[in-house]
């Protein structure tokens, strides 16, 4: 989780604990530099990215930094308000999904985990090199 407010980490961690049968390790970093460093270790499967991280403007600056670092796992954009028009461009900046902070609860976390760990392609074409 990348968020400049450590309180959000505490809250998300608590929400995750409440989901039955889910075992997730939630790391916390406060800025994008630390996040880039963290995904570089290869231990990160998914990133929850806060939209506004000082000193950056918004996800349009930060998400590409994660991708440039070679991170190919899902990036979820979290913000207290995702109603601004520019949020609609999220996929163009390498973000997989967006969710309002107030929408995050056990059910949402369960769906996210199942959705983004699901095998979308059949065995036949998972990585059939040509």
């Amino acid at each position: 989780m990348v968020d400049d407010d450590p309180a959000e980490h505490v809250l998300l961690q608590r929400q995750m604990k409440k989901v039955d049968g889910l075992s997730v390790k939630l790391d916390y970093v406060a800025d994008i530099g630390a996040a880039v460093e963290s995904v570089g270790t290869g231990d990160v499967d998914m990133v929850f990215l806060d939209n506004r991280l000082v000193p950056n403007d918004d996800f349009r600056q930060t998400a590409p930094l994660l991708r440039q670092a070679g991170f190919v796992g899902p990036i979820g954009l979290i913000s207290s308000d995702i109603s601004d028009a520019y949020f609609n461009e999220f996929r163009e900046y390498g973000v997989d999904f967006r969710i309002g902070k107030d929408e995050i609860d056990g059910a949402a976390i369960r769906f996210i985990v199942s959705e983004y760990t699901r095998q979308q392609l059949s065995e036949a074409c998972s990585e059939d090199y040509m």
Partner: protein, 227 residues
């Protein structure tokens, strides 16, 4: 941020939705605004077949522990058989433990809204564990909102199955695939997640009606989508 009080067909969120997560959020918000925690949009198979929650277009947040193998729901389930036989929204009072959609210690009240896609395929919205009885008018409103969200879901994602023509992003991914790149390599090249790349590939497979990458590239070459 979704405003739960907002009636969906008046809100801009519906217009903005672009991926499965967004539609999950919309249905979740609809359920939440009526005090429902668990819900699912499922594809209704032919008569007497069971429902598989693992299918590509299903959106749900039911706990896996409720179902066999975490995803299967028998045709004998009263919710499933209602969906197979009816097209009208209803609130079912399920007896005992007869339905998988009623969790332990949950209310036996299940709200079912059959939905019909323009392609002819039938789907259903299931909202389980309603604490309070549902008034007729409220049921009608839920059915209307469900139909509106589902219609949009169909337009944005489900109809891809029947639409020919690939988006620019999809063509890029097919082209890279034709050059032997794996999903994760393409993800790095395009600055996307592997998940998203695979979503695109899955969409292309459906559009070209093929089952693997080799066929996908061949079909794309044949139809001149790539060269």
């Amino acid at each position: 941020m979704l405003a739960p009080e907002t009636v969906f067909h008046q809100g801009p969120e519906l217009e903005r939705a672009v991926n499965r997560m967004d539609f999950f959020r919309l249905f979740k918000s609809l359920a939440g605004s009526h005090g429902v925690q668990f819900f699912g949009v499922v594809e209704i198979p032919g008569e007497t077949a069971s429902i598989n929650l693992g299918q590509a277009h299903v959106l749900h947040n039911f706990p896996g522990s409720w179902f066999e193998d975490g995803a299967n729901c028998l045709a004998a389930d009263p919710v499933v058989s209602y969906l197979q036989q009816s097209t009208a929204p209803i609130v079912l009072e399920v007896e005992g433990n007869s339905s998988a959609f009623v969790g332990d210690n949950c209310s036996p009240r299940v709200l079912v809204v059959p939905l019909q896609a323009a392609s002819g395929k039938r789907y259903g919205l299931i909202m389980s564990g309603l604490e309070r009885p549902v008034a007729h008018q409220q049921l009608a409103l839920i059915a209307l909102d469900a139909a509106l969200i589902f219609q949009r879901y169909f337009e944005v994602l489900l109809s891809l199955d029947s639409i020919s023509g690939l988006s620019e992003r999809e063509i890029q991914i097919v082209r890279w695939t034709s050059e032997g790149k794996t999903s994760s390599e393409i993800a790095i090249i395009l600055g996307l997640s592997e998940h998203t790349v695979n979503s695109y590939i899955a969409a292309v497979l459906r559009k070209l009606q093929v089952v693997n990458r080799a066929q996908m590239v061949a079909a794309a070459l044949r139809s001149g989508l790539i060269s």
